[in-house]
Amino acid sequence: MIRVAAVGDIHLAPGAEGTLRPAFETLGDHADLLLLAGDLTRHGTPQEAAVVAGEVAGLPVPVVAVLGNHDHHADRPQEVTAVLAAAGVTVLEGQAVVLDLDGTTVGVAGAKGFGGGYAGRCGSDFGEPEMKAFMRHSRTCADGLRRALGDLAQAGTGLRIALTHYSPVPDTLAGEPPEIHPFLGSYLLAEAIDEVGADLAVHGHAHLGTEHGITAGGVRVRNVAMPVIDRAYAVYHLTPRPRPEEPPP
């Protein structure tokens, strides 16, 4: 059994030092890893990222993150990533990481994702250059997630988790005004998840949304935005697939 702790949208900045650290220091008793689903800062400055780094540095479990739209606001995502990486956080964008935990391998595929909307009410790559660029970015993010999940499938990890900031499904947006759903996620992310398959999909971004959802392909989705889960982190218990039989010597 692997225990996955997850939270997003913690929106830290100078002045908030130490607000999450006491909770995170208990992670070793309750979880095997911590996922951060983006919007870790308020405006995406390295100074704000340093506050996040202080909350998670040296935790007893590995920490894997994606950035969110707030973490891009200052146009310094590389610097934010570098500050988090220096604190031991693995920051993913169209990439995967494999963790060896409790005798099994846990793969996390991460991408920020983007908006665009869901079946029947989504944007399309048509019209003005700005609209095409919007949808192109959405597709690029989803393609990155697909490739990363594919790498994990190829590696045969015991668990496969999709980590995004934007939501792959509308289920977990329940509570958000429907008018802004196209800014909260994209069906392209769910297509990527269902195409490769995953044991769990975790996202944030939708503060007024709902924790539980599922993709059309049956992958469980959890919105872990802190205002939704109303605690420092949620924990999900996953049973890994058995390791393939090793050939006899």
């Binding site: 802190m226 605690r231 218990h237």
Partner: protein, 54 residues
């Protein structure tokens, strides 16, 4: 979150400041949240007692 709901309430007026104030209210809420079964605030959080089995 992109603050769209705040933008709708006060179109184009101090949107970022409103977002920041809302965040502070969120944190204040967490700080004063007494917690209930399975939910702890992040000030006094002592770990997740019951994870969701999947």
């Amino acid at each position: 979150m992109n603050g769209m709901e705040h933008k709708r309430q006060e179109p184009g007026i101090g949107r970022e400041e409103q977002v920041r104030e809302t965040r502070e209210e969120d944190h204040e809420h967490h700080e004063h949240h007494e917690g209930h079964e399975g939910h702890e605030d992040h000030e006094n959080h002592e770990g997740e007692e019951h994870g969701e089995r999947m």
